[in-house]
Amino acid sequence: VRRVPGKTEHMRAVFTLYVVLIATGVVTAVLVALSRT
């Protein structure tokens, strides 16, 4: 396995981006459902 030193912050950025996208979607969906009575 070839490892490239440095630039790990880029990998962390895309990881965080995906976590934020998923969490935003789930939270929005739950809030939409619970706000409709």
Partner: protein
Amino acid sequence: MKTFLRENSLSLFFGTIFLVTLVGQSFAGQHAYNAEQTEHGASAVSWLTYVTSPHYWGAVMENWQSEFLQFAMFIGVTIWLVQKGSNESKPLGDEGIESDGRQKVGRFADPSSPLWARVGGFRTRLYENSLLLTMGVIFLATWVAQSLNNWRLFNEEQREHREQAVSWARYLVDPDFWEKTLQNWQSEFLAVGTMAVFTIYLRQRGSPESKPVGAPHDETGSSG
């Protein structure tokens, strides 16, 4: 910037087409919803009203949950089950969670191994299952979100037909919930099974999802 785009092209590509298709779904969904509204003599809704409706989020979560279930199951099941000749499988004989040495945990960890793989104890137990646990949690969260939105939608329809609204618990055993759930699950399971089987005999040159073109049919997990 160029380095950033090249090093992360796979995730940026899928992230971008995800957002484009999610927005596309909202416009197509709004039009389909409004066509139905007009048929029933009800007024059309704006795009903003539609993207904050259970109709939209129920449809989105329905698909999300089945995708995360698919990957969670694939991650978990492939620990123990194998398919001879498949690129999606471990080689026969490697079934199970494998030795600490092979997995580079605890005293077998490299200096470059993640901290939680090196420390041992609870943190290593948690970290060595973190992918399956995270995908499993997202599956459960999206499945609950699907059920809540489709429950609201179900009750709106009940009211339109002057029928009694049902509780969330009652909706969870309604055929409407299970039809929406299982129609998504069955397609995921077929797709995963197909990948496991097709990669025995079929190839795509250059793709890590395929064995090398010249690899023999009975070679298992050569580039997975």
